[in-house]
């Protein structure tokens, strides 16, 4: 980020863009000239560096570089040096205080003779030589600090950093920002976590798998304000880590509104950052995933698969489970504060996708909200075991189990294929075809009456007739069978 007086933009109509420094030979020349100057001044004073930089600045300006560009690079380089007060016989602060006090008493150094006397008297008071006193006095001015190290970037890296800083500086003036991107669940989580941490708000939309986040702050609804611009600028480095992205920010610049539109094509001008790493939120999840995979149920498990919509806000389930063309999300709700659980429940209630919700038995949550949940609910005690899911997954098994799939009967939790029993398929079919919506218990008993005694088989038949079992809580008496396909 740069001071706003160093901002350079390109304007066309109502559009504005940072005036990026291209990564070409000319700009690399300017960058390397400055970097070299800093490098040469390690061990010298800030004042000396400033004088040298002034000269380089003039030289670059004469060559036609824009002064704000040059100043911007200097600004960034200044942050890479470390300076220290020089060693002196007496502390510079003390020397300064003494010199000024003596000078005040003597009516100030209005002539060179008085000046000498002031230094002599001050030196006497501090019991040092005049030379050492003057050295300490000079050291009290900040430009006498000595540069002890310079963390030199490469010219290209400096230019990239400049471009990022420039973009952030323009974003300072943003009133709102739209981020359109293809994100994994992990990426969305990381961005939304930052949005929240910064005290910003968002509205989400999703179409064709592309997520659009409209980002601003609480007060943006009521006043147009650039208050949140500095915070939005902090999102930019995160955005740069996405593979494909587009930003559209509404910017108030020189008292006029502009649109700043950037996309992944600009990433190459800016520092390259590794993609957002997926980190596990908690041990519970990591542990669960490993165990689930070890079970070998034939279900594929993917962590934080993708952001789901929950009426304008976003919900990122912990896992997605795939088998054949069946896909179900799994959310593990651990032991948290009641407020956290309530918020989570509110979101879960808005999600339309099929969902298994694993809840901690000791969770601080009202029974009512649990019962209102759409998906299948699995209650676990302390730690969720992969085997806890087996009964629910059985119900969700795809209709046709692929013949090639090997069975490994050694695992006790392994789903055992039940053989088809003799039933009157016609009767079953005609009954099932007539259902619009019926309680699960009723359907099961009707099927038993028609010879389907195996529950697993009953679920399979229900699904194969375009019906779906909707679970409302754990209690089967609340579940219904509903038509999804004619």
């Amino acid at each position: 980020m740069l001071p706003s007086n160093l901002l350079r933009v390109k304007r066309r109509g109502f559009k504005v863009l940072p005036r990026f420094a291209e990564l070409n030979y000319e700009n690399e020349y300017a960058a390397s000239l400055l970097i070299d100057t800093y490098q040469e001044h390690v061990g010298k004073t800030i004042g000396e560096l400033e004088d040298a930089i002034d000269d380089v600045e003039d030289e670059l300006e004469d060559l036609g570089y824009h002064p704000k560009f040059v100043r911007g690079l200097i600004e960034l380089l200044d942050r890479l040096i470390e300076a220290q007060k020089p060693e002196t016989k007496v502390p510079p602060d003390l020397a300064r205080r003494t010199v000024f006090a003596v000078s005040s008493q003597m009516g100030f150094a209005t002539t060179p003779e008085v000046k000498v006397k002031v230094f002599e008297e001050a030196a006497k008071r501090l019991n040092v030589s005049v030379h050492d006193l003057i050295k300490a006095f000079e050291a009290s001015y900040e430009d006498s600090e000595i540069i002890i190290s310079f963390n030199a970037p490469t010219p290209v890296d400096l230019l990239r950093q400049y471009n990022l800083s420039l973009t952030q500086t323009l974003t300072f003036k943003a009133m709102s920002m739209d981020l359109v991107a293809n994100m994994t669940g992990g990426e969305a989580k990381s961005i939304l976590r930052t949005v929240k941490m910064l005290g910003l708000m968002y509205m989400a939309e999703k179409s064709d798998g592309v997520l659009r986040l409209h980002i601003d702050g609480p007060a943006s609804l009521l006043v147009s304000t650039r208050r949140y611009g500095t915070r939005m600028a902090r999102l930019i480095p995160l955005v740069l880590r996405l593979r494909s992205w587009r930003i559209r920010a509404e910017v108030l610049y020189m008292k006029r509104r502009f649109l700043m539109e950037l996309d992944e094509r600009f990433s190459k001008l800016m520092p390259s950052k590794p993609p957002i790493e997926e980190t596990f939120d908690s041990m519970v999840e990591e542990d669960f995933m490993l165990r689930f995979q070890a079970l070998g149920l034939g279900w594929r498990i993917v962590r934080e698969p993708e952001p789901l919509m929950a009426r304008g806000s976003i919900f990122i389930p912990d896992f997605a489970l795939y088998k054949g063309d069946v896909k179900v999300y799994l959310e593990i709700v651990g032991f948290w504060t009641p407020e956290y659980i309530e918020r989570k429940m509110q979101k879960l209630l808005q999600v339309k996708e099929p969902m298994i919700i694993a809840v901690n038995k000791h969770m601080a949550c009202s029974k009512e909200s649990l019962e209102r949940l759409r998906g299948a609910v699995v209650v676990f005690d302390g730690k969720l075991r992969a085997s806890d899911l087996v009964p629910v997954l059985r119900r969700l098994e795809p209709v046709r189990v692929e013949a090639k799939q090997p069975t490994t009967p050694s695992s006790p939790e392994r789903l055992v294929e039940t053989p088809l029993v003799e039933v009157s398929l016609d009767e079953v079919s005609s009954y099932l075809s007539s259902i619009g919506e019926e309680p699960l218990e009723k359907v099961l008993s009707e099927l038993r009456a028609r010879g389907v005694s195996n529950e697993q088989e009953a679920y399979r038949l229900i699904r194969s007739h375009g019906l779906m079992v909707l679970w409302r809580g754990l209690d089967p008496s609340k579940a219904v069978v509903k038509r999804v396909k004619p």
């Binding site: 100030f108 900040e142 007060a219 609804l221 304008g312």
Partner: protein, 453 residues
């Protein structure tokens, strides 16, 4: 009976849960599915709901607990008393306009003591921050919180700079009941106004010597703080409570060499303006030039020429000679030297061995210099713009202005600083102007501000 409506505070705004309809200052927020208003509309919103007969569960305020101690406050002068009374009558809202040096701080302290509520005092500079902190601590007998200059401690009585209060507005918004804005003319700027907008505080006091802003935005203060409840002008006050002062202008001649250099540089600048058809009549024109300098090389050269010309005049040998003369003449006095460019400040500091304060001076060092100046160990300070407003230097009786911006407000306030009443003392203000340079014009404009014309 309808279900109760819940009011909550959220980062500078108030959200209304369990009600959908018209409410003052409220808008429907789809992001959170509720009505939302800026915090300063909180009381209006609550009143409207109660008038409609709703039960309101109010979770908005989170005031800082505490109380002031036994106050030790100097008795108010009659006009201070009047000002306080008018403010109380106006519902503890509004602005007091009084010249610098007339004890606005005392009015505010008395107001704070009268209300004894969690209070946030907002001031423009670090110096004022220090000054208010010590005065509040002394007169109200409390531990005073500070926000700004690298400190962050929020207490029952807290002093903050405008910048820090803006930055932390969301966090401060529901913690105070009284806001005091020192130099309230700063408040209407696009960002600073949010300190007022994002706060629920019902009671607000604004203080200033110069209510009117050049951009006309002072009218917004009505909504943000309240109306002007009390106002007295300079000429009414001068004979009563301000120290008498003399204004002395000293003309200096540039050396021949300086003159030649100056006219070369100045004509470079003037030619550019003439080519563009601009007149350097106001600050506006000047800003335009600065803006243009970012766009064309020619404009930048013109600006640089103007800067060099100015530095040449400021650093002119004859000016420095005059300064030396004045220092000799005022041995034993307390002197503040103003000059505009930091380079010029540094030069005077190093050459004459006078402590300096610039925007680069750290707050600790700054406090030390001011303290030693107050206690008389230092008899002079040279400074750039940082002392622009209301800094309390009670014993300074000589000011030497080596340059100025030509802004009226700045000049009045600079003057005010040495006009603190001190028995039997005449203050002197010297303005050192180079003859035959454009500075003469700026100085004339400045003095107009003094007489109110």
């Amino acid at each position: 009976m309808p279900p109760p409506v819940v009011l909550e505070y959220e980062r500078g705004t108030v959200v209304v849960k369990g009600f959908r309809g018209e409410l003052p200052g409220c808008k429907w927020d789809v992001r959170s599915g509720c009505l939302r208003a800026l915090a300063y509309k909180y009381f209006e919103v609550k009143r409207a709901l109660e008038e409609m007969g709703f039960e309101v569960i109010d979770k908005v305020l989170s005031p800082i607990g505490g109380s002031i101690g036994t106050p030790h406050i100097k008795p108010l002068r009659s006009y201070q008393e009047e000002a306080l009374e008018e403010w109380l009558k106006a519902g503890m809202r509004g602005i007091v306009v009084l010249p610098t040096g007339t004890g606005k701080t005392l009015i505010a302290i008395k107001a704070i003591a009268t209300l004894n509520e969690p209070t946030l005092v907002v001031v423009p500079t670090i110096e004022l921050l220090e000054q208010w902190r010590s005065q509040l601590a002394k007169s109200l007998n409390v531990d005073v919180g500070v926000l700004g200059g690298g400190e962050k401690k929020i207490s029952f009585i807290t002093v903050s700079t405008y910048s820090s209060a803006y930055m932390h507005a969301e966090e401060l918004g529901n913690k105070f009941k009284l806001l005091v804005f020192d130099e309230v003319h700063h408040l209407p700027s696009e960002s600073f106004r949010q300190i007022a907008l994002l706060s629920t505080a019902p009671h607000r006091l604004g203080l200033t010597a110069t209510f009117e802003r050049e951009d006309g935005r002072h009218v917004d203060l009505l909504d943000l703080v309240g109306e002007v409840v009390y106002r007295k002008a300079v000429y009414e006050m001068k004979s009563k409570h301000l120290a008498d002062f003399d204004l002395v202008r000293v003309y200096v001649e540039l050396t021949d060499e300086e003159k030649l250099k100056f006219s070369k540089l100045f004509s470079m600048y003037k030619d550019f303006l003439e080519k563009k058809g601009w007149k350097l009549k106001s600050l506006q024109d000047f800003r335009r030039l600065i803006m243009a300098s970012g766009l064309s090389k020619e404009a930048r050269r013109a600006l640089l020429a103007w800067r060099d010309a100015r530095l040449l005049v400021l650093n002119s040998v004859s000016k420095l000679d005059v300064l030396k003369d004045l220092l000799r003449r005022h041995k034993g006095d307390r002197i503040i030297i103003f000059t505009e460019l930091n380079k010029a400040v540094r030069r005077i500091s190093k050459e004459l061995l006078i402590p300096e304060i610039t925007y680069k001076t750290g707050s600790k060092e700054r406090a030390e210099v001011m303290e030693l100046f107050r206690s008389g160990v230092y008899r002079a300070v040279v400074t750039s713009k940082v002392l622009e407003e209301g800094i309390d230097v009670p014993d300074a009786n000589v000011a030497i202005v080596l340059s100025g911006t030509g802004s009226r407000r700045a000049f009045i306030q600079r003057l005010g600083r040495i006009l603190r009443p001190a028995p039997g003392k005449r203050a002197v203000l010297y303005e050192v102007v180079a003859k035959g340079t454009p500075e003469v014009m700026i100085s004339r404009r400045r003095r107009r501000g003094l007489t109110g014309g």
